[in-house]
């Protein structure tokens, strides 16, 4: 493949990718470094189990290593930043560049539409991987701050969250390919992600929405106590299948899209 669109898009977004990763890494380092000061705080544990806590992605005992990481990183900030990155890029990759007028130059090169989508998906994966790696390294550093967390578990949950980010990013890309509008793609995908988050986090305390949690990608990545139980093969399967479906939808829509 000669037209290296992956490399181009990574070059165009290198500042924002670095910004997200550095910001999230610093935040994660602070969180793990603070753990020793909070691990014996009984008042913190009384927070858990309330609907308010669930709203912020907090489940389980906050003072346990898993609860601390879940309540401060994996249950909220990390997925939020991951989604900002993947949804942002997903909206820009096709619809955004088409609205900017730059996509036509690339689409006029000897490259198939399908290959364009694949290369952009790789660019998204590379950005998400960079962010996930930064967080994982910082969490593993946390083992030096009395955070007893397995390296394998930390990697697994980071990978699960990265896959969830890619799922939403690819859904965004597909919406962009269908509508040709960056704003629509951003809006609809952000709405879906927010609904997915609420569905998963509130399902632990509100029984009425409990059956709906299976519809939430958060449930399949971090919402089902994966930090304690580990990420199951079933979780990974759901996350990967959803991503592949969104990718296929992006390809199908983009092959038919009228570009500017």
């Amino acid at each position: 493949m000669r037209a290296n669109i992956t490399r181009l898009d990574l070059r165009l977004r290198r500042r924002s990718t670095a910004g997200y990763a550095i910001g999230m890494a610093l935040y994660s380092l602070i969180i793990v470094a603070l753990y020793p000061s909070f691990k014996n705080s009984a008042s913190l544990d009384s927070l858990s189990g309330s609907t308010a806590a669930a709203l912020f992605g907090v489940t389980g005992k906050l003072t346990s290593p898993g609860g601390w990481l879940n309540g401060n990183i994996y249950g909220n900030f990390f997925p939020l930043i991951m989604l900002l990155l993947t949804i942002g890029y997903g909206a820009a990759a096709l619809a955004g560049q088409d609205e900017d007028g730059t996509l036509a130059l690339i689409a006029a090169l000897p490259v198939r539409r399908r290959a364009m989508v694949f290369q952009k998906a790789w660019a998204m994966a590379a950005q998400a991987l960079f962010l996930a790696a930064a967080v994982t390294v910082c969490v593993v550093i946390g083992r030096g701050f009395q955070l007893a967390v397995g390296v394998g578990d930390a990697v697994a949950i980071s990978v699960a969250l990265m896959l969830m980010g890619l799922d939403f990013g690819l859904i965004t890309m597909a919406i962009g390919a269908v509508t040709g509008r960056r704003g629509t793609a951003l809006g609809v995908a952000s709405g879906l992600a927010a609904a997915s988050y609420l569905l998963s986090s509130l399902a632990s305390t509100i029984s009425a929405i409990r059956p709906g949690r299976y519809l939430s990608l958060f449930y399949w990545s971090v919402g089902n106590d994966q930090i304690i139980q580990g990420v199951s093969l079933g979780d990974f399967t759901v996350l990967i299948v959803v991503g592949l479906c969104a990718l296929a939808a992006s390809v199908a829509a983009f092959r038919k899209a009228d570009l500017n």
């Binding site: 037209a3 900017d100 036509a104 130059l105 090169l109 000897p110 490259v111 009228d258 570009l259």
Partner: protein, 304 residues
């Protein structure tokens, strides 16, 4: 001989709006073809369909003997494209653009790109967002020409270029055609097309209203003729002649628009004892403005 570009009943509709309607064009290799029309006439839409950026609602496009939509990759390999309202990546420099696009086309030999950069005095070391419209347009021209494509599709190529660069660009077009390569360009300016194109198509509201050589169009353009007779004349006889319209009559002074041959008109005039006659050459501008204004019913016969 395989035509460089041929469209068959090409039509594009967006909902109820018809952007291009039943367009039939044939452009021979080695020609510079100018598609002329007012803003919003369907020029860019036509070009986007040639490049398979947009799908025709009806009809099809053949480019360099291949189906533009079925053989996109093979076609794109042999085309250079300059979009209208060119947008580049603001943070990248001209050099970064050129090297990325060259690599994407598998172009190892950058000598032509270097030559074009020198020839058009392209600024290559500053981010594109810091460049003027004209300087960005020049980068776009380098990207379109640097792989020596067989067909160039250029949407309003001279927009933003200063007159000196426009002249240089026209030279480049002539050289390109001289090498047997084909140029398809669009413009809303008659002057530009008149100077550089061999053939011209005029598009209005998505329809091709004329297609001819510049000389052929000039032949079809009306000449204004003013005659002073010794005494008032009956206009009926003049009006009955083919290609003659009486635009003004004031006693013995008559003004005519004449298209086509002048002999029959002169014979009738001579028989009415004329005192004076002035004739102005065909006004191409007037012809184009006429096409722009008129409903597309009137079609200039194809002069071949």
């Amino acid at each position: 001989m395989t035509s460089a570009v041929e469209t068959f009943g090409l039509t594009k509709r967006y909902g109820s709006v018809t952007a291009v309607s039943d367009l039939n064009l044939r452009i021979e290799p080695g020609q510079v073809f100018g598609l002329l029309g007012p803003n919003g006439a369907g020029k860019s839409t036509t070009i986007r369909m040639l490049l398979a950026l947009q799908r025709p609602t009806e009809g099809r496009v053949s480019v360099l003997g291949l189906d533009a939509h079925a053989d996109t990759v093979a076609v794109h390999r042999r085309i250079g494209y300059l979009p209208g309202d060119l947008e580049l990546f603001p943070r990248l420099t001209g050099r970064e653009h050129i090297s990325w696009f060259a690599r994407s086309r598998g172009l190892d030999d950058h000598s032509l790109a270097g030559h074009l950069v020198d020839r058009f005095q392209v600024v290559t070391d500053r981010p594109v967002r810091e460049l003027s419209k004209g300087n960005r347009q020049k980068i776009g021209l380098v990207l379109a020409f640097m792989h020596r494509p067989e067909l160039l599709v250029l949407d309003e190529p001279t927009s933003g270029l200063d007159p000196l660069m426009q002249r240089e660009f026209e030279n480049l077009l002539q050289e390109t055609a001289g090498e047997g390569r084909t140029v398809f360009l669009s413009s809303h300016e008659l002057d530009e097309v008149q100077r550089s194109a061999h053939r011209v198509g005029i598009i209005r509201e998505g329809r091709l209203v004329a297609e001819d050589t510049v000389a052929g169009l000039r032949r079809a353009a009306p000449r204004k003729m003013e005659i002073l007779f010794r005494r008032p004349v009956d206009q009926a006889e003049l009006c009955s002649l083919r290609g003659v319209t009486v635009t003004a009559a004031d006693g013995p002074r008559v003004t005519l628009d004449v298209t086509g041959e002048i002999g029959p008109v002169l014979r009738v005039i001579a028989s009415h004892d004329p005192v004076d006659l002035t004739s102005r050459p065909a006004d191409l501008d007037e012809l184009f403005l006429g096409f722009y204004r008129q409903p597309p019913a009137k079609k200039v016969p194809n002069a071949g």
